[in-house]
């Protein structure tokens, strides 16, 4: 408050150093007061200044009072002289001697008996005079300053001070600012008279204590949502263990197909074989593979029950689609269906940054009378539009259980090229007709992986950071909500 009164008196403002000397307190106390006043808002405005001045060092102060070393040498020599050895015993002797010699204040008689003897000449102690000048605040010539600085008698000091002027809400009386609104203030209405400390809006807030959903599962939720929006019903895919029959044979995938190799598929040793099959259907599947039928030449090979019985970890969710379509065919009357699933599938593959032994397959299936290839492309167009992908084109491809088969490509604006985003096709009659579906029913289907769009969405390059125990939990904590179309 003393400071404020001074500021009030001074018209153009005051320097904090002057304030300190006039009130008679340490400058640091004033600096502290300035800072706390600043935090109160616009009571004062303070501009930092720095000034430089020269000060005597401790040695300089000693010299200013007692004279320079060389002057003290001069003073200590009596008229009859002094032996050099005596002089050197004095504290200032050594430094003072050489300076006094070069100033020609003293002379040495080396031939004097009893060793060199020193006699006084005359003296003018300029060093002391200069130091006294500095102490009184006067300026010296650069040359002199440097000479004294070199002798560590002078030092240049920077002093930081504030230039204090009145602020827009200047007042000489201080009211204490409140940090937070309290229930009492609300109850008594005292908040109306209080001043509140301003918030620092630059700082971050306190992170909420919360749980998080896994990014891959967030994307799964969105895909489920899209299918449900499109009227697709979810298939029961909670059966990781599947027989080769449903995984391959029912899909008209021949028994020598490379996908059925040990290198690509996980086989089970326990339980090694499946035991229950719909017998008449199984016979029809066997026939269509080995002999053909339903308008097909078949693959003409020796179809073996033992191969079909082998249990595996399903390599695709299409195994479940096959079970569902078979079930549909057992209805008294066919009804059109739209099915989807998103679940795990397993491949005995070599692992790398983009391949794992298990991943999630997204699959959509539509079964109805008279579906066309144009319908498949139309449904895919609608599906991918919901993912925010509108530019699509289709490439002829091969898949053992679909004909026609189409790879779905979308134009990637970033890469400036077409990239494959999914696979699709029309299930072969050799798959559908043995199930007992009506001949004029077509089934269109498509599939893609869940991991790839998720990695693109969340900018993850290594699949192991996303799926499995090596996940980076910080990434899980930090991942935003998933809107696929934005």
């Amino acid at each position: 408050e003393a400071l404020l009164q001074l500021v009030e008196k001074a018209d153009g403002g005051v320097d904090s150093l002057d304030v300190a000397s006039s009130i008679g307190v340490d400058h640091q106390v004033i600096v502290g007061a300035v800072k706390s006043l600043q935090s109160l808002g616009d009571v004062i405005s303070a501009e930092q200044r720095s000034s430089k001045h020269w000060e005597l060092t401790d040695e300089g102060t000693e010299l200013a009072e007692q004279g320079s070393h060389e002057a003290r040498v001069f003073g200590s020599i009596p008229l009859e002289g002094l032996p050099q050895s005596e002089l050197m015993k004095l504290s200032f002797g050594k430094i003072g001697f050489s300076k006094a010699m070069s100033n020609k204040w003293i002379r040495v008689d080396k031939s004097h008996e009893g060793g060199p003897r020193i006699f006084r000449s005359n003296i003018q102690d300029q060093v002391r005079e200069k130091l006294l000048l500095v102490r009184s605040g006067a300026q010296l010539e650069e040359k002199d300053k440097n000479e004294l600085k070199k002798r560590k008698l002078l030092t240049e000091v920077t002093v930081k001070s504030y230039w204090i002027t009145r602020g827009s809400s200047f007042s000489t009386t201080l009211t204490k600012q409140e940090t937070e609104l309290t229930p009492e203030m609300i109850a008594t209405g005292s908040w109306k008279d209080r001043k509140f400390k301003p918030y620092n809006f630059e700082a971050m807030g306190v992170a909420p204590d919360c749980g998080h959903l896994h990014p891959l599962m967030k994307v799964r939720t969105q895909f489920r949502q899209i299918f449900l929006e499109m009227g697709f019903s979810e298939m029961p895919t909670n059966n990781f263990i599947e027989s080769s029959f449903w995984n391959f044979d029912s899909l008209f995938q021949p028994q020598q197909h490379p996908a059925r190799d040990q290198h690509d598929t996980f086989f089970l040793s326990d339980p090694a074989l499946a035991h229950e099959f719909p017998q008449d259907y199984l016979e029809r599947v066997k026939t269509v593979h080995s002999e053909g039928g339903y308008g097909s030449q078949g693959y003409k090979y020796d179809w073996k029950m033992e191969e079909a019985q082998k249990n595996i970890l399903r390599t695709h969710t299409t195994a479940v689609s096959a079970r569902m379509l078979y079930k549909l065919a057992q209805q008294e009357k066919f009804t059109p269906v739209k099915y989807f699933s998103i679940d795990r599938v397993f491949r005995n593959e070599t692992l790398d940054a983009t391949h794992l032994a298990e991943f999630h397959q997204i699959e959509g299936v539509v079964a109805d009378y008279g579906l066309t290839l144009g319908d498949l492309m139309g449904v895919l167009h609608q599906f991918f539009t919901k993912l925010g992908i509108t530019k699509l084109r289709f490439k002829p491809a091969y898949n053992p259980y679909t004909e026609p088969s189409m790879e779905v490509f979308s134009y990637h604006e970033g890469l400036k090229k077409w990239v494959e985003v999914g696979n699709s096709g029309v299930f072969r009659p050799e798959m559908l007709l043995p199930m007992g579906l009506p001949e004029d029913v077509s089934v269109i289907a498509w599939g893609l992986s869940l991991e790839r769009p998720t990695m693109i969405k969340y900018g993850i390059n290594n699949i192991r950071e996303l799926v499995g125990h090596k996940v980076n939990l910080q990434m899980v904590y930090d991942s935003p909500i998933c809107r696929l179309d934005s």
Binding site: N239, F266, L268, Q331, K333, L373, Y398, P404, G468, H469
Partner: protein, 683 residues
Amino acid sequence: MPTVGVKRDILFNALGRSYTDEEFDELCFEFGLELDEITSEKEIISREQGDSKASGASDVILYKIDVPANRYDLLCLEGLVRGLQVFKNKLEAPRYSRVSPTTGEVQRLIITKETAAVRPHAVAAVLRNITFTKERYDSFIELQEKLHQNVCRKRSLVAIGTHDLDTISGPFTYTAKPPGDISFKPLNQNKEYTASQLMSLYKTDSHLRHYLHIIEDKPVYPVIYDSNGVVLSMPPIINGDHSKISLTTKNVFIECTATDLTKAKIVLDVMVTMFSQYCSQPFTVEEAEVVYPDGKTCIYPELAYRKEKLTGEFINRKVGISEPTENIAQLLTRMCLLSQPTGAGDEIEVEIPPTRPDVIHACDIMEDAAIAYGFNNITRTTPRTYTVANQFPINKLTELLRQDLAAAGFTEALNFALCSQEDIADKLGKKISETRAVHISNPKTAEFQVARTSLLPGLLKTVAANRKMPLPLKLFEISDVVLKDETKDVGARNSRRFCAIYYNKSPGFEVIHGLLDRTMQLLEVKAAREQGYHIQAADDSTFFPGRCAEIFVHGKSVGRLGVLHPDVISRFELSMPCSALEMDIEPFLGHTAEALLTHDVPMRESIKHSLPRLGDSQQPLPAPPASTKTVFGDLKSQEGLKALNDFLADKSYMEGFVASQADASVFDAIPSTPTQTLQHLWR
């Protein structure tokens, strides 16, 4: 998908024009090929072995083209060019014909009965007066290799041998002998070896060692001799050096030995149709006679043309276009399927050449018409299929529960369904025999030995991989484990589990216990001994003694919770106390879901579907279900309808916000139009 490498300039020369890379890529895309890579021999060597090795290599530009796995006719330059030229209407598909030898006798291959034990089938043919160049020769060798890798299934189904016919003399004998009795100078070796010696010689051969297993354990090995006892080949391993072909070879004898006759015929047809192009009479192939042990004879190659009839309407209807019959015939002809309208209505006769064994059904022909029409020229349409969506009940419950568990402060983890035996047994202080785990017979590493029977190891491993994260770590997972179950057709089933852990400086049993209470609250189960849930002390080697409890819901055990045993914590390389909870969530589904949950093979019985197709208004409504009893009482009674009406007063659907099977079944259960007073039922 096989990849074929062709030299760009030779390809363009054969195609009669050049393309920019983009243009060629576009052409491939349209035709169903993929220009996978543009490279050179030099680039490949420098990438694989370093720049220094590549210095002398050719920098002629190579196109690597991905070919669909069923198109054996496109596996070499000759086939690719032929296919694309016909597709672009620049060439008519050639007609392949089998001819008798102009001079001398037909070549004969006699199969002896010994082959039955190892590789019973063989087919053969002769390419007469062929002119090889370096490029043609390389392509000829390369095609054999591609066929071996693909349709031949790494030579296990079929193996091809090609020989300079002028160095050998028929008739040839295909027999099988004990390995010690076979001795010859194999291709590119300078001395004779017995078959047994060869097998050990090739053990270290980077290429051939992959085929040894096919015959290794057989008592007899297949071998082909000429009439002078010269060994042509020991299929499926190696040919003899004596009959090897070279650039100057004029007449080629091709034999294919096989365990699958159909595939052998296909392979022979592909070989001769591709390379008869270079014979003095192009596209003619000299026949060979194969004599079976029973004396039966067959003439090969088959080179069979098959005729199919279909209608233009069929193609239009399946593809979703409306092209005149004439145009469809032209489209098919461009795919090497020579087609003509028969004049009877919109009937088209399609001829399938021997190069297209992939065409086995009318749908394959339909696809070719669609490719020639251009997939991307087909108008995209919306199917008129009307359906109501249902969620799979266990997934619906999982989705809802996940959200609220995250809201309870736990973070979702996502772990692998496959793991090591150690993870689910030893590390948890259990014996593998107690786990009901399914075992994988061919895991590449220990990480894939079994399917998990518990979600706990995955969560503990997740914590171990995230030790740097601030404590406490609160994690959960709702996912499937797999258990052996003899009542299922495959002998195993999934079980949906919920697992959570709390990892901190103190065990925090109360935290996990609190999460259980919250979960039960979410699942509408009260804390009560009889008609609710309770926990009671249990012994479990995974948990610290005296710190484990079993969770009972309506008197049935659904899982356990407790403080983990210090040994379990250390085995997962963790150092802090940890409490955990794992339980089944399927018991909370309620009875609506039970029918859908099973994976038993469905019986051959009718399942009533309640939703008539849109536009099928004349169709009689499905018969009402046998029982009209629901949770709202019997819907035949007025009281029951009243209860349902009250229930629906603030709801549009029976379950959640999505119309479901439950709605349909309730709707079915209402015998007739409800009276106006019960207006909520009208929705």
